[in-house]
Amino acid sequence: MKFQGLVKIIQKEFLSDDVFKIVIEKPKQMDAVKPGQFFNFNVERMLLRRPISVSAIGEETLEFTIKILGKGTEELSLLKTQDEVDIMGPLGNGFDTASHKKVLLVGGGIGIAPIKGLGGFFDKDGVEIKTLLGFRDKPYMLEAFKAFSNEVIIVSENDADYRQGYITLPLEETLKNQNEQFDMIYACGPSIMLKSVQKICAQFNAPVQLLMEEKMACGIGACLVCTCKTKSGDFGYKHSRMCLEGPMFFGDEVIFDE
């Protein structure tokens, strides 16, 4: 049986005005968790659960980093240390982390949360990590990224203390630089960013894994409401379930709408 039930919150902390992290005690009967996997969080006030990626995987703990976007994440933000919350998972395929020497991590917005989990994982394996982070406003959680990355490049749309612009800028520059070769690129962020990342990586023939986000219901592949188009399939494309076949898709699989 997969895990679904109450877990205890052992740490809760705000990282910025609207981003907080919670650390939970990992139940013994839970399956091993991979970076890029997610858990479906119950929110009492809303009908549906809320999917949240792991942002750090400890021996006996799991960390989640959550941005307040609407009522559901707002209710999660009210959780306190010692409270319990009903989660199910781990869900989804997670990142493919086959042995690499050097990887490029690309995170935009709250998409940096699963990227942090992935970085922590590679760090243990001694992989060389370069990280590109894009924020809308003031950056946060930078320490964690600096700790595991050999190099971190930060852009922000609105914070003048940092280079301004979109993450796609440093991504293009990095890939143009022939001196650096990456075994794999990993990206998570808003759909529009992933679409650009896909395009840029294709231009440079660089392999990339995209961690996608879409509204979900069951989170386990039963209801078919979370699909995106992927290239495999009889009709030139098929509708794959982000929650089960994803949320990680390879760059050359996904077809973005429009």
């Binding site: 009908l47 549906l48 509204k215 219901a217 039963a222 209801c223 078919l224 409401v225 699909t227 009889d234």
Partner: protein
Amino acid sequence: MSSVNMSVDLNGLKLKNPITVASGTFGFGREYANYVDLNDIGAISVKGLTLEPRQGNEGIRIAETPMGMINSVGLQNPGVEVFIKEEIPFLRQFDTKIIANINGNNIEEYCKMAEILSYEDVDSLELNISCPNVKNGGLAFGTNPSVVKEVVSKVRKASRKHLIVKLSPNVTNIKEIAMIAEQEGADCISLINTLSGMVIDINKRKPVLMRGSGGLSGPAIKPVAVRMVYDVYDAVKIPILGMGGISNSMDAIEFFLAGANAIAIGTANFVNPKITKQVLEGIEVYLAEHKYNSINELVRDLNV
């Protein structure tokens, strides 16, 4: 576990307990097998099947609403042949009944599917007449009495399997439709399918779902569903499989009291994958406390 008799006989379809799962909300059972023992479920109505495989609808397929959700999956499914080859054998490993939910673009397709499935190891056919009727400008089959008459009578002739007709709630007179289904040979009525609804994204200024409207399910629709079960009970003699927003055993008991002989859980599976078992246990406790010997005694046992 309890001494109360939970088995029900839906006019030929015998279930060991009256808790089933609603089509489209439980896949083919595989996914939920990781969370709940499928042997504890009376019957599984599988994801809506079509003759050919279907890709389903494009774009966003879900929007959350106050205590409900609207979906626009568009019958994505691998087609009836794959269902027969891959899913029936999987489900047969468990002690639960299989209900094949069948969907067509036209009456011929419905009949073809009923024929094919006649020779297969399924326990019941559930005729979903909420599908858009291509011939009729896309209005659902189930909203036009004469179309209901035709499709039910033809499907009835195409197969001798136990036949459930699943009604659309988007009609003026649900009793009339139920009576026609009974008259044309349905063994059982299931209801309700989703209400037609729409959510508009006020920032993008367009409906969230690409097709505009979708099907509203979940607790929000429960009072509508209970009312329709109550009405249909008065109109037909065949048993009723009630559903619509059931989220706990109290909700389920409301449906039995309204006149359902068995119930289906839909959207609530998404919230709580173990809900079927919990509802079953909750009903058993209620029956024991209220000195019922059998679930069948609860059906429409109103104090009036």
